[in-house]
């Protein structure tokens, strides 16, 4: 074995085996429990991380045996299952209400019933919201931490340029149409826009149909009722704004991220999205706070406002010590600021000191009284322009909230995306035929 080729060959083989072996080695802390927790979506600004670092230091001071490691995280269906299977999810992360039921039924979330009981605030939750994390046996699989209602986002600057009063946002769908037309004519921008891609087209169609009293499924989620008057009216509305008024701009391939981007760039007058959107718009899309406006979605014919939210959860694979540490973090980081004055003030101060949004309108996950009281605690730190959101703040508690469709939510939304796109890109799209087909497909999903 003296030939150089043999030496090189052995070295190469050894290097390969060694590098493969290195892939499987993991680190461990010196006597501390390492806890990997979700922080922000990729792209968040430095100030967000500064605020998080402050909170991390506060937590570690209180619990010296826990080492918090912030991990960039964004809820994405596509990568979730693979991350879960590969064990690369953070130990604490958040998922939307829509998906929580499916995840817990699949055994993809840790049971935290005992932990919530031990913390003693099970009774404080809004029971409708708590239902989203409960299985058929009454076990709980997460901490509802934030809820929102859909609202009408609008650009105050475009309102002004179009000669509209930004302090008097529209209150009926007819007014929205009228304002949209005016914005388009005066500014050349899209007066009104709606999401169409990656299941968000279905989501927003559902929300706007609900505001017209049209719901996609029977209450128990066993029958599809997609071809209803509310959905038809919403699609007809899109059609009229697009083809008769030409007030929806020229981009009809928008999802949550791209519509926010267009809005932040000043290209969209109005669109519907979550009431807590302001934080993300400013933090991740560099929106100028001065142009932001938020009001409630107009209600017609027994309409309801679609709500949503997210839940702090743990993967089922955690060992007992890590799980206990994770629960401490969830309680400290997400829950105490809703329940406890000192925690709420400390949280608001940390966020406000780093220029992060404090006071974005949300729906209470606990009872309304606790929520309203918590707002008075953090009042000195509120830095979002709540006067520009007055329409929403004043009107939301008069609206009746409704949850997203119960059965196969994302798949039903996916069925509706192409319909919204068809109406916006084909003047002659046959709404009735499209809905009849979607209804049939949805029923097959629900029944199958």
């Amino acid at each position: 074995m003296k030939s150089p080729t043999k030496v090189i060959a052995i070295a190469a083989a050894f290097a390969t085996v060694a590098s493969l072996a290195a892939c499987s080695t993991g680190g461990s802390a010196d006597g501390k429990i390492e806890l990997r927790v979700a922080t922000f979506p990729p792209g968040a600004d430095q100030a967000a991380y500064d605020a998080f670092a402050t909170q991390e230091a506060q937590f570690e001071k209180k619990y010296p045996n826990i080492d918090i490691i912030g991990v960039e995280y964004e809820w994405e269906g596509p990568t979730f299952t693979a991350q879960l299977a590969a064990g690369s999810l953070p130990d604490v992360f958040t998922v939307p209400f829509t998906d929580a039921k499916t995840l817990l039924e699949n055994g993809q979330l840790a049971d935290v019933t005992e932990e919530i009981k031990a913390l003693g605030y099970e009774d404080k939750f809004n029971p409708i919201i708590l239902d989203a994390v409960k299985d058929s046996k009454g076990h709980l699989f997460g901490f509802p931490r934030q809820a929102y209602a859909l609202g009408l986002q609008y650009n105050r600057q475009l309102f002004e340029q179009a000669g509209l009063d930004p302090d008097s946002p529209p209150t009926t769908w007819d007014q929205v149409r009228e304002y949209a037309k005016q914005i388009s004519e005066k500014t050349g921008k899209a007066g009104y826009a709606t999401m169409t891609q990656n299941n968000t087209g279905g989501w927003q169609l559902t929300a706007q149909a609900a505001s017209r009293g049209g719901f996609l499924q029977s209450d128990d989620g066993t029958t599809s009722t997609i071809a209803n008057d509310g959905v038809k009216a919403t699609l007809q509305y899109f059609h009229d704004l697009r083809w008769d008024d030409n007030s929806m701009g020229d981009n009809f391939l928008l999802d949550w991220g791209s519509i926010n981007q267009e809005f932040a760039a000043g290209n969209i007058g109005m669109y519907t999205s979550g009431s807590d959107l302001y934080t993300a718009l400013v933090r991740d899309f560099s929106l100028d706070p001065a142009v932001y406006g938020l009001t409630t979605i107009p209600m017609e014919d027994g309409g309801k406002v679609l709500g949503g939210g997210d839940i702090a959860v743990l993967p089922p694979s955690l060992d007992a010590d890590t799980k206990a540490a994770a629960v401490k973090w969830v309680d400290w980081y997400y829950m105490q600021k809703l329940l406890n004055k000192d925690a709420a003030v400390a949280d608001a101060k940390a966020l406000s000191d780093s220029g992060q949004a404090v006071g974005t309108p949300v729906l209470p996950v606990l009872d309304q009284a606790t929520y309203e009281e918590s707002l008075t605690w953090i009042e000195p730190y509120v830095n979002v322009p709540r006067d520009q959101m007055q329409g929403f703040i004043d009107g939301i508690f008069e609206q009746t909230p409704v949850g997203e469709p119960k059965s196969h939510t994302q798949e039903i939304y996916a069925l509706l995306d192409p319909i919204v796109q068809a109406v916006l890109t084909d003047r002659n799209a046959d709404i009735d035929a499209l809905l009849a087909q979607a209804d049939k497909d949805a029923q097959a999903l629900i029944g199958g």
Binding site: T5, L20, Q197, A414, Q421
Partner: protein
């Protein structure tokens, strides 16, 4: 040593072979002596890498196509996934869209690099500059290129392409915002992005064409087009056949363009087979349709393997003559 001695010595060395093969030493030591171990050690890194990152996942995918799984629990379901895929109404649409993309790419995208390479080979000065310019789009990362083109394709009258059309007196086009125009728009970008690589390959192949053939054709009084038709193209056909099958395989798996430009829209006008596989696997991953995704992948792979085999069989003689 005389010449005769030397010859005898050579014959002596050759004799064992001439008298028939010696019994092969089948022991491990024999194998090692013949250099088997060194060969294996040299190949080991690649074998390991391929096993871990290619062959093992391929085998797992095939196995997964017979299972219902959310990557945590697995259940054998026989051919259910294949049945589900074949009964999906969107499959037909995806196949038609993919064929449409492949056809457009074949009709417009395939001859273009050949033509450009032939023309460029005729250029006498600054050849390198033209090659570099032709290759430039290949250097742009594909995702960046698509996002740039998405911006160019803005349907607004002030969009880049619409402004250019406006100068020519053509009204603004909806491009990717319209079900009819979306696919040709995707092909246009894909052709732009891929042509450079093909041009370089054709240019290299053109260098191998013996100049005597052109001289002979010239003596016979052939025009430039006759030279291209009767000399260049026949000489290139081996390369053209390989490029053609590579393009067919690539277009059958088109994903990046529809995924980034349109997400399969408007109204499923650009859903391709690979995008459908992606949707199965990832769009509603909460329940996990990984079984259906792998089933369709296996079907696509089998189809492409069969098509490639038939293609090579059919053109074997033609391309190697």
């Amino acid at each position: 040593m005389t010449v005769l001695d030397e010859r005898r010595a050579v014959e002596q060395r050759l004799r064992p072979r001439q008298t028939g093969p010696r019994r092969r030493d089948r022991s491990i030591r024999g194998w090692v002596r013949r250099g088997g171990l060194v060969t294996l050690l040299f190949a080991l890194p690649m074998i390991l890498v391929f096993t871990v990152y290619s062959w093992w996942p391929i085998l797992q995918s095939i196995w997964m196509s017979f299972q219902k799984t959310n990557l945590i629990t697995y259940q054998f379901v026989g051919l259910d996934n294949f049945v589900n895929v074949l009964s999906d109404p969107l499959l037909g649409r995806a196949v038609v869209n993919t064929l449409y993309f492949a056809l457009l790419a074949l009709v417009f995208g395939f001859p273009l690099p050949i033509l450009m390479a032939v023309l460029m080979s005729e250029v006498k000065r600054m050849k390198g500059l033209y090659s570099a310019l032709a290759y430039l789009p290949v250097i742009v990362p594909p995702v960046v290129a698509v996002l740039l083109w998405k911006f160019f394709y803005s349907a607004s009258p002030t969009g880049v392409f619409n402004t250019i059309l406006g100068v020519l007196g053509i009204p603004p086009q909806p491009w990717i915002q319209d079900a009819t125009q979306a696919m040709p728009s995707l092909v246009l970008e894909a052709t732009w992005a891929a042509a450079g690589g093909s041009i370089i390959i054709y240019l290299a192949a053109l260098l191998a064409v013996p100049p005597e053939l052109y001289d002979a054709a010239e003596v016979d009084g052939a025009s430039i087009w006759r030279k291209i038709w009767h000399v260049t193209l026949p000489q290139l056909r081996g390369v053209i056949f390989v490029m053609l099958i590579l393009q067919v395989i690539a277009t059958a798996q088109v994903f990046l363009e529809p995924y980034l430009f349109t997400g399969g829209g408007p109204n499923n006008a650009t859903v391709t087979v690979l995008l459908l596989i992606y949707r199965y696997a990832f769009e509603n991953s909460l329940g996990g349709k990984y079984g259906e995704a792998t089933a369709l992948s296996v079907m696509l792979a089998l189809f492409l393997a069969a098509a490639s085999f038939l293609y090579f069989k059919a053109t074997e003689k033609w391309s190697t003559d």
